[in-house]
């Protein structure tokens, strides 16, 4: 393990920001700390950096306990949420700052800065000031500034929060490529799960100061270990009192059920593809149809419960009020004790994923 947090606890007055957080990150990995606002993820990042001090527990970097090592000596590059670029210095001076503080040789500084400038694709803009750059460009400079002094660990605090939606996508891809190119172990904080899923190798989900689950994006998505993760990841509906659904018997009674759009299939009765599953079909009425840019989102009333599903634009037209056949492939069940996936028993044997 390259970076570890062991039983970290932190309180701000009465508010517990971190409750026995423990995790380890391998060298070279790009990890996302994902969680809702106020979950404590930024605090954890700052404790890693040394900007905050934990009440209990150890921060270990490269095998060494760094609890008493000041932030500037931990070999960490930090990218702040609002970039925190030095507004009275040029791009060049911003990137060179860390090296100048280390009193590196002037030639070396120049070489390294120019290397960074070309790495981030801002050649020709070294003499500009931050206020003369776009948001995306500023973020790139912040990145270059953080890694210019060759840190061992790169920490980013919600790096894309302040950027336009359109630019965000491009920048995400760019960041992932850059980090892979440079090969530096990186941890970034975000509340946007789409971002975490797209960019990170592994995701650590934090909620209310607790570590909920750690794993690859797919693992977390398909096998949520806690109710919170099940709800947090993906778009889901939480339902109670689901009774009378074919294939689930009493399994749903008294439990909270999470249904994702991809668990639900709605089709017209004459659709031959689902001919062999008609025994598991429920009847549903379309309540609402919403265009979501690249697909339709249907809301159906099925057995007194509202279910959502996504429908490709390539399929036949549907209207509000139309009756549809509805299949429920699987659900997540959870109560206070845990969560589990429950498949539709009537569809056993049918390879749903091949459809």
């Amino acid at each position: 393990m390259y970076v570890e947090m062991k039983e970290i606890c932190k309180k701000f007055g009465d508010y517990e920001a971190a409750k026995q957080i423990s995790f380890g990150i391998e060298k070279g990995k790009l990890v996302a700390l994902l969680g809702p606002s106020g979950s404590g993820k930024t605090t954890i990042l700052r404790m890693l950096a040394g900007l905050e001090r934990q009440d209990r527990g150890d921060v270990v970097i490269e095998g060494k306990v760094v609890n008493d090592v000041p932030a500037s000596e931990r070999g960490i590059g930090f990218v702040f949420q609002n970039y925190a670029l030095f507004r009275y210095m040029t791009v060049y001076d911003n990137i060179a700052f860390g090296l100048k503080v280390q009193k590196a040789d002037k030639q070396k500084i120049h070489a390294r800065v120019m290397e960074m400038v070309s790495l981030i694709g801002l050649e020709g803009l070294e003499k500009r000031y931050p206020n003369q750059l776009s948001g995306g460009q500023r973020q790139r400079v912040a990145f270059a500034r953080a890694i210019a002094p060759n840190p061992q660990l790169l920490l980013l605090d919600e790096p894309f929060a302040a950027i336009d939606a359109k630019v965000r996508k491009d920048l995400r891809k760019w960041l992932k490529d850059m980090i892979q190119k440079v090969g530096i172990t990186s941890i970034f904080v975000t509340h946007d799960q789409e971002e975490a899923v797209e960019v990170a190798d592994d995701i650590i989900i934090i909620n209310e100061g607790r570590l909920e689950q750690m794993g690859s994006p797919i693992a977390i998505y398909k096998n949520p270990k806690t109710p919170f993760v099940a709800q947090f990841i993906g778009t889901s509906t939480v339902l109670e009192n689901m009774v009378g659904f074919k294939g689930y018997d009493d399994a749903l009674d008294g439990k909270k059920v999470i249904v994702r759009p991809e668990f639900v299939e709605a089709f017209k009765s004459d659709n031959k593809k689902f001919a062999n599953m008609m025994n598991a079909v429920e009847e549903g009425v379309i309540e609402n149809v919403v265009f979501r840019g690249s697909y339709l989102e249907l809301t159906l009333l099925v057995n007194g419960v509202r279910l959502t599903t996504n429908r490709s634009l390539e399929r036949r037209h549907v209207d509000i009020g139309e009756k549809m056949c509805v299949l429920l492939y699987r659900v997540y069940l959870f109560d206070d004790k845990g969560a589990e996936i429950r498949k539709n028993q009537l569809l056993k044997g049918i390879d749903v994923e091949a459809l």
């Binding site: 500037s72 009275y88 700052f97």
Partner: protein, 280 residues
Amino acid sequence: MEERSSKIAKWCLIGISVAFFLLMLIVPLFEVLYRALADGLEAYGTALGAKTTLSALKVTLLATVIAVVVNTVFGLIASWLVTKFDFRGKNVLSTLIDIPFSISPVIAGLAYIMTFGRTGWAKPLLDGINEALGTDIALVFSVPAVVLATIFVTFPFISREIIPLLYAQGRDEEEAAAMMGASGFTIFRKITFPHIRWGLLYGVILCAARAFGEFGAVYAVSKARGKTFTLPLEIDALYMAGSADSITQAFAVSSLLVGMALIMLILKNIVEYRGKRDDL
């Protein structure tokens, strides 16, 4: 219809403001110049070159320069403490900074006398220091007294300009710099100072302008003409001398102060302009 009545209102307001400024500022200034030159340029030159005038000018400049330097250093420190740290008594410090604004300068002068005068409670302490150092420093009715009174009265000017700037800047940039290993002094020099540069300069100008014109506090602690008088006190003495000549001289020295004030005003405008231009 509405447009016309709002136009009238606009011109009325402008008219009133202009009339106010003319009456309260422009006319008196012209009067000063007019009366100053009433006896001709030669008399004007003599008045400005008089021994007492030059001494007063020297004392005024000395007090102003020292006040500006001391208040810049302590103003920076106080502002830094108030904006970057959280500590008990922070609000008290903040209030203390503003005290010279709220109390009459005369009271400040009298307070000095109560403290450092011959019958003041700090006199034995001062005597002890004087004995130890072999000096003869008097803190009342002397030039140091004038300097101290000026420092006190002009203290808030610089802090008040810097504090809002420091607040607005926030701690992010400084944290980023600290993370990369920069020392406190480097952070101040490279990150904080460029941000407050123009505000600081503006505060310095205001401080100097105020120091030039200070009367009340200095009047209480300075009694010796030709030795511890500042320009305002000298002007008062000339006016009190009563003769037609001395009154013209009083206006002549006043015009000197007016000139210094105008220079300050021009400097202030330049700084404001440059500051806005460089606003990042």
